[in-house]
Symmetry: C2
Subunit: 617 residues, 2 copies
């Protein structure tokens, strides 16, 4: 039983091991011509016949024998007896060897007068002008482009031999339910192989998705054996760790050879590389972002070396907005949101939780922290490998601050402008705005004088020109399963928001006002980063009360007792107002459709929505 | 009846007219999640349930109540009664709020001893860590990437509303036969719409290919009416000129409005832009390269503005190897072969014949000669828009000189290394080599002393270090339908090769030797650029004799009477020998597989094949 990682190898060694010990071998398949764009020919392609097969007229005009036209001038026009009217593409009549354009001809009762001689073969497309019968049109190894389709169709080709890679994808795990099934407690939808299949297919790989296999050694063994028979590359999802039910490595060892178990990258360390006969087999780790990292950093380069052309959006250099610590000896890959703020490229790391797939959804690039580095500091220049075009990166709007579901709806209205929201709480947003790490900071910070936001901007951005745009006046209140109110938060258990969030500050303000000691509240230290997470914690029974906005309580189907409204605003540097992204943002917030969406969500008062205050701090 | 071009507009005006007067409107369609990579969402997508839906263990270990672990140390271990063994992904038992890794635990008869306290929520994936029920995962306008597929599958999404463009493609012309049918005399395979369909589909457009319609006004009208009903963009191939059977413009005028007839670009001038209701309709010119130019320069930018992402390989600056004249007032697009020779990027124009689809097949980029320019000179720096990656451009091998079918077979063996051959005759090749416009010059130039190639290199590349690699000794002879020999070339009609080709020089040498006046040969001035073209001209009856290699005569099924063998060699600058492309070339020529291909083709003697001579000229 394999119950340890073999010594870890580097990412580069892992790729090299695959390419030297068991490179995926492409097979030859015939496909219809029309489906071949982007595919690579496996055999040379020859024209079935010449194009054109006869001499054709290249113009609308008359076909002539050039020798009959010798000497024609304005003064000595020639009347031709045997000229024939032809249109572009007509076959030249026998004996004719030139075409005179219809514009240069005078017709009278089917006979033609010319005033200039015709050079032999003028305006004629001779036999084989494009290609001659049996001539090679395309060698093997040629990637078919759309203009090749036109040419090959014209040369009589209907199908092509192309080299194709077939990958088999085997999801394993007793906890898996197939895509489209509602998972029960402790179950998850199989998504790693789906993701890999979608990716491989988009690269022209013939990806075969096998049904999920339970964690049973015999079942997994027979699935792998079957896949190895018919595929050029086999990917097994999960079972690659060292748990008691992680069978992948030992089955590969039985049927073939484990070449690598464990690569010094994060996430994704417990990956397996093996071979069965000559077929490479890769065991993916189970966590979605671990699997994604292996797909991106190992499988994609291998597929590329086997002839696929994954899109390459290049890299940008950006300023890191948050310090990232990383282990020496491990290449760490961190999903990032990059964007352009105040003329500088900035990049913000997303959650590194290997189960947080939304980090991938929200990302537009990835940062590699090399194994000889302990991380990167705020403000440091880092290189981001992009997953979208640089143009898309530069077009994005970056928000950082307090989260509210209304922001997601606003982002939706702003489409196709990409909107990136970092949920770092109101205070985090103010600091990000100060450092020019975002375009707009959504905030709701209550000052002791009862005003919102202004006092904090005065304190943290003194001397700056800032514009506040009101999103809405928002109801905050106590969420519970049984209609509890603020008075009940010391009796049962509570769930809190993270430090620096406006909601947390509102809570602390209320506690202080009423002389309640935070230490007396069970769960005061339990922190959630969104309103919905608070509501769901209450819904699941983990806590009895929490403080959140009305929309979150409504979404979770829970009771909501308002404490009051607060002003939820976006702070923007005034100098950014001419930026078309910012104008679009402000216009959207002031739009009727946004106001009507807010009303539909519940818990928002929209009287102030869209009002703009220009501040000289 | 429309029988003139409306005043020509520029390319930019044509695109702007479409985008302002009748921009293609995308429709909303639902597609399976797994097929959505690269598509753009038309609606926001919300999570159907939270992920995870319960608190999960993030590690293999034991689930505990953190308060039970307070105070545990090495000296004061705690024996836990109520801890439960959990694996990664298991649901936490009610009451537990932390997981301790199995490595940090001592087990004894189902009870666990710990030596360190657990922080609340350590190694736990809380409810909604990834996403909360009903939270927006993706706004509208988001281009789906493969990692989104994994996330959305996990959130319960099985299908998506995406915005999709449906294009209808109508081929017209009585001369058309459908793809897969052998065209008769004067017929052609419909390929323009096939090419457009393959292109549009590769960009995610739903392209509907209508069957070819004959040149009948009613038939074309009803095809267009039908397509306009169900498509967002209609493309009609051909019938866009001003010929008597060019109905497209007048039908658009009947059903809607012709906005543009004629754009000042070449090839592709007679294009039509119109609209019927709000649907844009584009009439393509019939010549394949004219149609290709409109697809590339007008339709692709329009599709791009409507949301598609055509691949963009950028541009390179290269040295033009041949002077190109162009008309003032017309933007001309010339297909090019670009490559790197001697550390410089060079670019060679391909045939500008609008019917020569092989120019597109052979091209790897396009040069735009702007309307305010009369052309570009040899040696001038020009900007080439690439149709393949710059890496592919740089990896290519450039041959220029005399053509032989053996070169195509050699290129096939060299795959996937791209090989570009310019057919410019032996002398053209020598001059191209001198100017470093090619890597290798295939040549067969007979000197008066009876030797091949050497004398010409001495004369044109004095002082240079050149290596000659013998491809084969090749039989040249008289091709005819009825076993004619050299003596017969003055009696019937002859077809010649272009000036500077080795075959032409061999002919002139033989004529001079025998005192024959070229003027006495009918067809001496009729020039073909390949051996096969010569053979096919004889086959078609256009000429009675020609001079070519045996393989060409054999391909055409004609009689061949040898005149003698000639040494067909590649001239290479010796300093280029270390270039891996050149080593691969020389190795391939010397290989058994190449020799056996030559033997199979007939007309080659392979005794000298692969021999290398290093010359100090």
């Amino acid at each position: 039983m394999v119950n340890r990682y073999l010594s870890l190898v580097s990412l580069e060694e892992a790729i090299e091991t695959i390419m030297t010990r068991c490179p995926p071998e492409r097979r030859v398949v015939r496909i219809p011509l029309l489906e071949s764009v982007g595919q690579v020919t496996a055999e040379p392609v020859f024209a079935y016949y010449s194009v054109p097969e006869a001499h054709l007229s290249a113009m609308d005009g008359i076909a002539v024998r050039s020798e009959d036209t010798t000497g024609a001038t304005d003064k000595k026009p020639i009347l031709l007896d045997s000229a024939v009217r032809v249109n572009t593409g007509n076959v030249l009549p026998p004996g004719s060897d030139a075409v005179i354009m219809i514009e240069d001809v005078e017709e009278h009762e089917g006979r033609y007068t010319i005033r200039r001689p015709a050079a032999p073969w003028q305006h004629v497309r001779p036999v084989g002008e494009d290609i001659a019968e049996s001539e090679m049109a395309i060698p093997r190894g040629h990637r078919i482009m759309y203009h090749d389709i036109g040419a090959l169709a014209a040369y009589g080709i209907t199908d092509l031999a192309v080299s194709s890679l077939r990958a088999g994808l085997i999801p394993t795990g007793s906890e898996l339910v197939p895509h489209g099934t509602r998972p029960g407690p402790g179950q998850v939808v199989e998504s790693n192989c789906l993701m890999a299949a979608a990716h491989l297919r988009s690269l022209g790989v013939d990806a075969i998705l096998y049904p999920p296999v339970a964690d049973e050694q015999d079942a997994i063994r027979s699935a792998i054996s079957e896949a190895v028979e018919s595929c050029d590359l086999v990917i097994v999802s999960a079972g690659s760790s060292k748990g008691t039910k992680d069978y992948t490595a030992r089955i590969i060892e039985e049927l073939g050879e484990v070449l690598i178990h464990g690569v010094s990258i994060k996430p994704g360390k417990p990956v397996i590389v093996g071979r069965i006969n000559a077929t490479p087999i890769i065991g993916l780790p189970g966590y979605p972002l671990s699997a994604l990292t292996i797909i991106r950093e190992i499988i994609t380069p291998v597929i590329r070396m086997a002839g696929a052309r994954p899109p390459d959006y290049g890299t940008i250099t950006a300023e890191l907005t948050r310090t990232l610590a990383s282990d020496i000896g491990t290449d760490e890959f961190v999903l990032m949101t990059a964007g352009e703020v105040a003329g500088r490229m900035i990049a913000t790391p997303l959650s590194r939780g290997a189960g947080v797939q939304m980090s991938a959804v929200r990302s537009n690039g990835v940062l590699r922290i090399p194994r000889d580095s302990e991380g990167a500091e705020t403000g440091q220049s880092v290189e981001i490998t992009l997953s979208v075009s640089e143009e898309t990166i530069r077009s994005g709007l970056i928000l950082a601050g307090s989260h509210d579901p209304a922001l997601d709806r606003m982002a939706d209205l702003l489409a196709p402008l990409p909107v990136h929201s970092a949920h770092i709480g109101s205070m985090g947003g103010v600091l990000a705005l100060k450092r020019r790490h975002c375009h707009a900071a959504p905030m709701h910070l209550l000052a002791p004088d009862g005003t919102y936001n202004l006092r904090y901007l005065e304190r943290y951005l003194p001397g700056e020109e800032v514009t506040l745009v009101c999103v809405a006046e928002r109801e905050q209140g106590i969420v519970s399963r049984e209609g509890l109110s603020f008075e009940d938060i010391t009796t049962g258990s509570f769930v809190n928001r993270q430090k620096g969030s406006g909601t947390r500050m509102l809570l602390d303000h209320l506690l202080k006002e009423r002389g309640i000691d935070p230490g007396s509240i069970t769960g005061y230290t339990r922190e959630m980063t969104t309103h919905l997470a608070v509501a769901l914690a209450v819904k699941s029974g983990e806590a009895d009360t929490g403080l959140c906005v009305a929309s979150a309580a409504e979404t979770a189907g829970l009771s909501f007792v308002p404490i009051g409204t607060e002003r939820y605003e976006l702070a923007i540097m005034t100098e950014d107002l001419p930026d078309p992204r910012i104008s679009a943002l402000i216009e959207t917030i002031g739009s009727d459709s946004f106001r009507s969406i807010l009303s539909g969500m519940g818990g928002y008062r929209t009287g102030e929505t869209g009002t703009v205050q220009t501040l000289h701090l």
